[in-house]
């Protein structure tokens, strides 16, 4: 009953057989063992599973794996450079104490990269509005907003 798909994830092409109902998040986690992408709800509300599909920010819990056939996915594992240098958003979350338990963090950072690319000069209020689809229960968001602002400034300079 499987469908064969080829998905490029973080620059590597993967060909695999999936059930038509397999969600992208389960494909990433269970079949490719990329467990950095998390699941926090079942109603597309929390944003823990946020990844990029062809450069666009999406929820991998409400995307079927077969929809990604022939397309490119980027996950948290694809953020850092090959030499281990952290992406500016990763560095900024660390430096601003933008995470506590770490569970929402991968989705939060993937959403943040999307926000920075879309609105490089976003104000704090605009960052907060754009981040509405990503829930964090630990930080109260203040340091997350600071992290995104810091990363945004860093990425604008580089």
């Amino acid at each position: 009953m499987g469908e064969t798909i080829t998905v490029t994830v973080n620059g590597t092409a993967h060909t695999a057989e999936v059930e038509p109902r397999t969600l992208l998040v389960h494909f990433l986690r269970e079949q490719l063992n990329l467990t950095g992408t998390h699941i926090g709800c079942d109603t597309s509300t929390c944003g823990c599973c946020t990844v990029h599909l062809d450069g666009e920010t999406i929820l991998s819990c409400s995307t079927l794996a077969i929809q990604c056939d022939g397309r490119e996915v980027r996950t948290v594992e694809g953020l850092q450079a090959a030499d281990g240098t952290l992406h500016p958003i990763q560095q900024a979350f660390h430096e601003n104490h933008g995470l506590q338990c770490g569970y929402c963090t991968p989705g939060m950072m993937m959403a943040a990269v999307g926000i920075i690319e879309q609105q490089p000069n976003a104000s704090d209020d605009e960052i907060r509005e754009a981040l509405e689809g990503n829930l964090c229960r630990c930080t109260g968001y203040q340091n997350i907003v600071a992290s995104i602002r810091t990363a945004s400034e860093q990425m604008a300079r580089s």
């Binding site: 338990c101 950072m109 990503n134 109260g140």
Partner: protein
């Protein structure tokens, strides 16, 4: 006894060093329980009761078992366990403890109660199988409201009892009746502290792995209390505690909801035993809405006697706590914490408290961030505003007139606690200054010009933290102690391993414990590894909850570090051929007093202790020490929060526009982490004040199971906060620390509600219950206007 730690070096106590645990989380290399795969692992899904109360008349699993990939369907009759869920609250005491079978036995008593368990090749098939299990129910009368549950003739949640009363807590001081009778004025207030769903971003999940050849059981579970879970798994599953290993991988938030032992944790172990393969269960979010404990759910009736000057002379507190359908690990104990904190930080010696706990056809309630104390604080802080309003006294002033004064410490409260230290006026003064309290009326006028109501609200709080002196938990009937464990182990290369019995899930213990180790033992921050969360290699630990990790676990660490340092001193004296009394500690080495050229660094001593080439008489090899620390008292953090809100008269939307928090958590190990705890705590309190409410229909249906109905605040819903600290070190422990994990939540909700009531006071509004969602506020405004 307390030490001034404000001038320590980078990486030591007091430094805002960045967290060492961050890298794995920002790179996606965290390992949460759902990230683990074991060989031949199967997956479980639960069939749960769709009724609030029903007799189960039949379970037909044939269709599920016929589905390829389904290995087993387990029910109460076929699950191999010895007993039901256990509670640590008053075992054998004056509490009703109905049996809570791991899978429902004849009756289901709340929506979501597990009835059957399907084991299959993957999670999709397990869910498919669960949908094919056919259960016949005979619905029974339901009661969800705790006050109604205690009325005569209410449907009985447990037919074996003659009422739904679980337990009554009572505490009345001798002088109360007289003091209340003589009070010049008496005010009354009803406060509804609504039911909440804790909502850690990682739901619960666990993997049971029962090795048939050895009888060893390994349970990987997302918990705050690995050792508790081990003890109870061994009893419930009928196996030796020495054969049970509980592993806590990274945990994605807990907030008290993972301070528990749950049916599913026992079920996956028993199921693994039944099918002979590891079994994993990961909770869906919708499932979490009914399967994981809820918090709060307490209705309070206050009656307060005051003088014309606003001094409280007598306080009566009568509350009903909704326990849900069963007692979980600590359910009956949570309102003990409310009882403790009823007087707050006010000098009230004549008091009458009654708390009745009720069974209802709802998910059990238990500890949620603050656990009983937010309820007490919210209520009395609403009451203080009611007094201020009634007497025409400023809200800050009426609090000041009732504060316990610094010279009264240690202060014995009317509920029997000994408050350690605090300076409540200092908290209030600083918060009023930082929030520009004095100039508020100008901002109110400005908002009015823009068509908005604006209000300001205060909350002054004290909390009881550092749970707990074991003698106190015993006196409360809790069948568990309150001490904590630590081991400090120095390696031949001079690096240190710290094993802690605390169980961090976001609190940054690896960082803070490394800082303490650097300051107390001179091992650099980066040379310390902190490990926890595996019962196989560590002595019993009690875990992380009740803002206890630093005040109890941190002190256990401090004491182990001291033992290692003292052993190193004897070794240094021996190697340097002088008396122990002639040695002085430099912070990183022992040296002969006044002779820096004659010294041994802690790393040199670690090596010497390991090689053991020459040890002093009576000294064992290796620098290592273990401590089980039982605190002599609780700690009592305090603070003042000031909130300003704007209310849109068109929509009823309440927006927090300014928020200032001054907290006194004693000495601070890492200001960055402390601020992070306060931020998150405040926003959880804000969530309760503005958005969150777990709602049941009268028929027992859960109406808010998902994050669509249950509104967790987003970044767009919350303000940027201004934080500051005062410091009164706790005299109860050598680090002078108090705890900070729950302070924000405890302080926040009342400040926000008080601000909203103040905003609408011009309309004659005197009280608003939570959550202050737009519809409620709009209705309050319409009623006030009509």
């Amino acid at each position: 006894m307390a030490v001034d730690y404000t001038t320590q070096a980078a990486g030591g106590i007091g430094d805002a060093v960045l967290r060492k645990e961050d890298r794995k989380f920002v790179t996606g290399e965290g390992r949460y329980v759902d990230d683990l795969k074991l060989p031949a692992m199967l997956h479980a899904a639960f069939v749960r009761s769709p009724f609030g109360h029903a007799r189960i008349t039949s379970i037909d699993a044939a269709a599920a078992l016929a589905l390829p990939g389904v290995h087993a369907v387990l029910t109460n009759e076929s699950l191999p366990v010895e007993t039901g869920v256990l509670s640590a609250s008053n075992p054998g005491g004056d509490v009703r403890h109905p049996e809570q079978a791991i899978l429902a036995k004849e009756f289901a008593r709340y929506v979501g109660e597990p009835v059957a368990m399907v084991i299959a090749d993957d999670r999709y098939l397990a869910r498919d199988g669960a949908d094919l299990v056919h259960v016949e129910y005979d619905p029974l009368p339901v009661v969800v409201d705790a006050e109604k549950a205690l009325e005569d003739g209410a449907p009985l949640v447990h037919a074996e009892y003659d009422s739904n009363l679980v337990k009554t807590l009572e505490h009345v001081t001798d002088g109360f009746d007289d003091a209340m009778a003589k009070a010049p004025k008496v005010l009354k207030l009803r406060v509804d502290n609504q039911r909440l769903t804790p909502t850690a971003m990682e739901t619960r999940g666990c993997i049971g792995d029962w090795q048939e050849a050895t009888g060893e059981v390994t349970l990987y579970t997302s918990t705050q209390v690995a050792h508790f879970v081990r003890t109870f798994v061994s009893i419930v599953c009928g196996t030796s505690e020495a054969k049970v290993r509980v592993v806590t991988p990274d945990v994605g938030g807990g907030f008290g909801a993972k301070l528990n032992t749950y049916r599913e944790e026992f079920a996956v172990c028993a199921a693994s035993h039944a099918v002979g393969r590891p079994v994993k269960w990961i909770e869906d979010r919708t499932e979490a809405g009914v399967a994981t404990i809820h918090g709060r759910a307490q209705v309070q009736y206050y009656e307060v006697g005051v003088t014309d000057e606003g001094k409280i002379v007598a306080l009566k507190f009568d509350a009903i706590q909704n326990n849900g359908a069963y007692n979980q690990l600590l359910t009956p104990s949570i309102s003990h914490l409310t009882l403790f904190m009823v007087p707050g930080l006010y000098d009230i010696q004549d008091i009458s408290i009654r708390i009745r706990q009720a069974f209802t056809n709802t998910t059990p309630t238990d500890a949620y961030r603050g656990a009983g104390r937010p309820e007490a604080t919210h209520g009395i802080e609403r009451l203080m505003d009611a007094i201020a309003d009634e007497l025409g006294i400023d809200a800050a002033e009426v609090r000041r007139r009732n504060f316990i004064q610094p010279e009264q410490f240690p202060y014995t409260s009317a509920t029997g606690l000994s408050y350690d230290s605090g300076s409540y006026d200092a908290n209030l003064d600083l918060a009023l200054e930082l929030s520009d309290y004095a100039t508020f009326e100008a901002r109110r006028a400005e908002s009015e010009k823009n068509g908005k109501y604006r209000g300001i609200g205060l909350s002054t709080y004290v909390e009881v933290c550092g749970l707990a002196p074991s003698a106190v938990t015993a006196a409360l009937g809790i069948g568990a102690p309150g001490w904590e464990h630590s081991t400090v182990r120095l390696h031949p290369t001079g690096k240190a391993t710290v094993i802690t019995g605390t169980s961090p899930h976001g609190q940054g213990h690896a960082t803070s414990w490394s800082q303490i180790t650097q300051t107390e033992l001179g091992i650099p921050f980066e040379d310390v590894e902190v490990i926890h969360g595996d019962t196989a290699f560590q002595p019993y630990g009690l875990g992380t909850y009740g803002s206890r990790s630093l005040a109890v676990g941190g002190i256990a660490l401090y004491r182990s570090l001291g033992k290692v340092r003292e052993k190193a001193r004897e070794l240094a004296a021996h190697l340097l051929e002088c008396s122990v009394d002639d040695m002085e500690w430099t912070g990183t080495a022992w040296q002969v007093k006044g002779s820096p050229d004659r010294s041994k660094t802690i790393q040199e001593l670690a090596y010497a202790g390991w090689t053991s080439a020459s040890l002093p008489e009576g000294i064992e090899p290796v620098l290592e020490a273990t401590t089980f620390h039982d605190p002599p008292n609780f700690t009592f953090p305090s603070g003042t929060h000031v909130c300003e809100v704007e209310i849109d008269p068109e929509t009823g939307r309440v927006t927090v526009v300014n928020y200032t928090a001054v907290d006194d958590c004693g000495n601070v190990i890492n200001p960055l982490i402390v601020d992070g705890q306060v931020h998150g705590g405040i926003i959880q309190g804000l969530g309760q004040a503005l958005f969150e409410e777990t709602v049941y229909g009268a028929d027992g249906q859960m109406l808010t199971p998902t994050l669509v109905e249950y509104l967790v605040p987003s970044a767009a819903d919350v303000p940027s906060m201004t934080l500051a600290r005062t410091v009164t070190p706790s005299p109860s422990n050598p680090l002078g620390v108090k705890g900070i994990g729950e302070a924000g939540t405890i302080g926040a909700s009342a400040a926000i509600v008080n601000a909203a009531v103040d905003a609408l006071s011009g309309l004659g509004v005197r009280h608003i219950d939570m959550p202050m969602q737009p519809a409620r506020i709009w209705n309050v405004m319409q009623e006030a206007k009509s």
